[in-house]
């Protein structure tokens, strides 16, 4: 039962990172695009799906609370300020989808809120993952750090890394969904984003070695973990080839595969801890009565429905976004 909910949680987090990472990435790239027609096309590429994507964040939140209440309580209270910034970012970018189209005079404001909100949310998510990897000060099952106890150079590097990663996902999505200028611009961005991302991964790795992070021991203890970097390498090569051949379809899958590998590496190197290296999955799990109650309804029946729904909605809106004529 515990394993079932670990799996559900892992799937939800991964889906969130892939799906919302994609549209947060588009938001980040939106910020460095000036042309109105291109901006419209970029928004059009994520407008039908962003809201559903973001719902996976709420799913992650409530599953964490229901199945692993101690982790929910500890992490959310530890990350008080970053969480606030992330939520603010998500709200501001969320309303921009609706409000931006309703005004000409104030459009700059919603452009700004869309781009800045996406950027903030992405950076903070990376920062929190980084802080988690580095290890939070925890004693007696409660956060024991200060307001800024999660802050470290390592966490900031991870924030920048994830921002670049999301931007890459976004660019690959644009390549798949858009045509003409937007697609070409995205194609031009992919190589530099990839190179920057690899550079940051190297930096993160070096910082981790330098700081003697506990997580490094995990990698040495569990050499099978290196399967993930290998798959990621394969994905990166496929990605590079598709970009060179200008094949619009594969890049997003290859980028997603790379992300999946990074996620797998982290998840398995944390195992059996949920908050490394202080709270284990077994210690964090809710009582059996709670897990079973969730399993027999939400887990067994509704969760598959949600997966089907996500797949269907991606399928319904498959293909290139048809650029609507510029009305203004």
């Amino acid at each position: 039962m515990i394993l079932f909910w670990v799996a559900i949680l892992a799937i939800s987090v991964l889906l969130y990172v892939l799906l919302d990472g994609m549209d947060l990435g588009v938001g980040i790239l939106f910020g460095v695009t000036r042309d109105e027609a291109r901006r419209r096309a970029m928004m059009g590429a994520v407008a039908p799906i962003w809201d559903g994507n973001e719902t996976w964040l709420v799913v992650t939140g409530v599953v964490l609370w229901g199945a692993f209440p101690i982790v929910y309580a500890t992490l959310l209270s530890a990350f008080y300020l970053p969480l606030l910034v992330m939520l603010a970012g998500l709200i501001l970018r969320g309303v921009a989808f609706e409000f931006r189209q309703k005004t000409l005079r104030m459009r700059w404001l919603w452009n700004l809120s869309f781009a800045a909100g996406s950027l903030l949310a992405a950076f903070i998510q990376g920062l929190m993952v980084g802080a988690l990897v580095k290890g939070l000060p925890i004693s007696h099952g409660r956060y024991a750090g200060s307001e800024l106890g999660w802050l470290s150079p390592f966490a900031i590097w991870c924030g920048i890394g994830l921002t670049l990663g999301y931007a890459l996902l976004g660019a690959c999505w644009l390549v798949r969904k858009c045509e003409a200028e937007v697609r070409d611009a995205a194609y031009r961005l992919i190589p530099s984003l990839s190179v920057a991302l690899v550079a940051f991964l190297i930096i993160v790795f070096a910082v981790a070695l330098h700081d003697h992070l506990l997580v490094m021991n995990r990698w040495l203890e569990r050499p099978y973990l290196f399967i993930f970097p290998l798959i990621a390498l394969f994905a990166a090569i496929r990605l590079a080839l598709s970009v060179r051949q200008r094949r619009d379809g594969p890049p997003i899958f290859m980028a997603a595969l790379t992300f999946g590998c990074a996620f797998g590496t982290l998840a398995i190197s944390f195992w059996p801890y949920m908050i490394p290296f202080s709270i284990t999955i077994a210690a964090a799990a809710a009582p059996h009565a709670s897990l079973a109650f969730m399993f027999w309804g939400a887990g067994l029946f509704v969760f598959p429905l949600m997966l089907i729904y996500t797949a269907t909605s991606l399928r319904v809106f498959r293909g290139k976004v048809i650029a609507s004529p510029e009305p203004y």
Partner: protein, 471 residues
């Protein structure tokens, strides 16, 4: 009063949840009403029903979106500000809110796309079915939230083990009798919110002599619906009073403004309660009525607040006045709905401009009633988060600093005021534009989810129209 992390967290929770409830209470009612409209359109084939449907669907989209964005915050706030509550009650509240998210997600998300963009892609009967499923999703969502909150009001079906609430009887938690008076009370409040807003919009158009057909439908349906539901709401309100009387004597005494035991008890209609002197100033009260309201008896003894030590009493002023404002809103809405319905039946309402004005101006009342009702329930539960078991002061995140809590409160206030102002302004523009401005057939899909409902429409509108709205 010193600003402590506890006080700031309470203010923040109160502010964000008050903001949030405005939108769901509106959209739950609207979704149900849209289902009725679509069914009527299918049955009668009358085009005006369809026009009204398409028009309110746009407004539904914007309000739903604001509800979604403000709802995301709620999912995290329990952990960030109330980590001790989250830790202790997670085994019970977590699964309940998981069911809320899962069922709402599966139904609302699954069928909203069809509702917003699928009109031309599916059979009419399936379209109706999708509308009904979205409405059902909003009600499921309300149901789980009410189960969750009712457990905090009257905790049942649990044992305390290792410092946390461990569920031992889910049936007791879900089928608690409290749930089944509070859930209908909230549902009726949502239906009334929809009905009164729709009637007010109809009255507004009628006053302006615009959209005559649509205005008549809105006015009649809204008024009749409110006229029937308001008395039912009184019954459920009374049943709520009964559970409070039975399970939460301190809340009951605070709402009644009763400081000392009385037998038979009088009912304080209006007063200025003074916690310092533990008495009421300027009190207007009716003898014996208090016993009748509390216990349906002429002789019963009713409990006063001074039976409890001050540390176990809720603040009196907020529940006392919030309750009276809620009841006051109910009385005005009842008058408007009954007079309006009668005149409408006699076909005289269009000449009675005063009644139309009253109907139009009553649109804030259901919102005020819902919010003050929640104030009564939540502030009246104090000083407990989980009534009788976990104090609010013990539920707050222990290491939260005043500075951090202050920053987050300010950030939420700023952002919410900002998006609320724009959201309401854009809804107002949709209302001002009125039905029929939009093409009846929804355009081809550009979006499946609510935040961009009217974007496709506006994209297709000529530049002048937008330029006009800018001015």
């Amino acid at each position: 009063m010193t600003l402590t992390p506890l006080l700031l967290s309470r203010l923040q929770f109160a502010f964000t949840i008050t903001f949030h409830i405005i939108f769901p209470s509106f959209t739950i009612g609207l979704a149900a009403w849209l289902t009725v409209l679509e069914a009527l359109h299918l049955l009668t084939g009358r085009a005006a029903y369809r026009q009204v449907f398409e028009f309110w669907l746009k407004i539904f989209g914007v309000a739903f979106g604001l509800g979604v964005v403000s709802g995301v915050v709620m999912a995290f706030q329990f952990g960030s500000n109330w980590s001790e509550l989250a830790r202790m009650s997670g085994p019970i509240q977590g699964p309940l809110l998981s069911y809320e998210t899962f069922t709402a997600f599966a139904l609302e998300a699954g069928f909203l796309g069809v509702l917003l963009f699928g009109r031309r892609r599916v059979a009419p009967s399936f379209y109706l079915f999708s509308t009904a499923m979205v409405a059902l999703g909003t009600m499921f969502s309300a149901f789980w939230i009410m189960v969750n909150n009712s457990w905090m009001q009257v905790p049942v079906g649990y044992v305390i083990q290792g410092g946390s609430f461990v569920p031992n009887d889910w049936a007791k938690i879900i089928f608690s009798p409290i749930v089944w008076v509070r859930f209908p009370h909230m549902l009726l409040a949502a239906f009334l919110t929809g009905a009164v807003c729709v009637a007010a919009t109809g009255a507004w158009y009628m006053l302006q002599r615009r959209f005559a057909d649509e205005a008549r439908i809105m006015l009649a349906m809204g008024l009749y619906c409110a006229a029937v539901l308001l008395p039912v709401q009184l019954v459920f309100g009374h049943l709520n009073g009964d559970y409070i009387h039975h399970y939460q004597p301190t809340k009951f005494a605070a709402v009644e403004g009763r400081w000392r035991d009385e037998q038979p008890a009088s009912e304080v209609l209006l007063a200025l309660p003074d916690p310092r002197s533990e008495s009421n100033h300027y009190s207007i009260s009716v003898p014996v009525l208090g016993s009748l309201v509390g216990s349906m008896s002429f002789t019963s003894k009713e409990v006063g607040l001074t039976d409890y030590p001050p540390r176990d009493r809720p603040p009196v002023l907020i529940p006392f006045f919030a309750f009276r404002i809620m009841v006051g809103c109910w009385v005005i809405m009842l008058l408007v709905a009954w007079v309006g319905s009668y005149l409408n039946r006699m076909k005289r309402i269009e000449q009675r401009r005063a009644v139309l004005w009253a109907t139009f101006l009553s649109f804030p009342l259901p919102f005020i009633a819902t919010i003050t009702g929640w104030f009564t329930a939540e502030v009246g539960r104090q000083p407990w988060t989980v009534y009788g078991v976990l104090r609010t002061a013990d539920a707050v995140t222990p290491f939260l600093t005043t500075r951090a809590a202050m920053i987050s409160l300010l950030v939420f206030c700023t952002i919410y005021s900002f998006i609320f102002a724009f959201g309401v302004f854009y809804i107002y523009r949709l209302l001002r534009a009125g039905p029929g401005v939009f093409p009846v057939l929804a355009p081809a899909a550009t979006s499946s989810r609510p935040m961009s409902v009217s974007q496709a429409e506006l994209d297709r509108r000529p530049a002048q129209a937008v330029a006009e709205q800018e001015s």
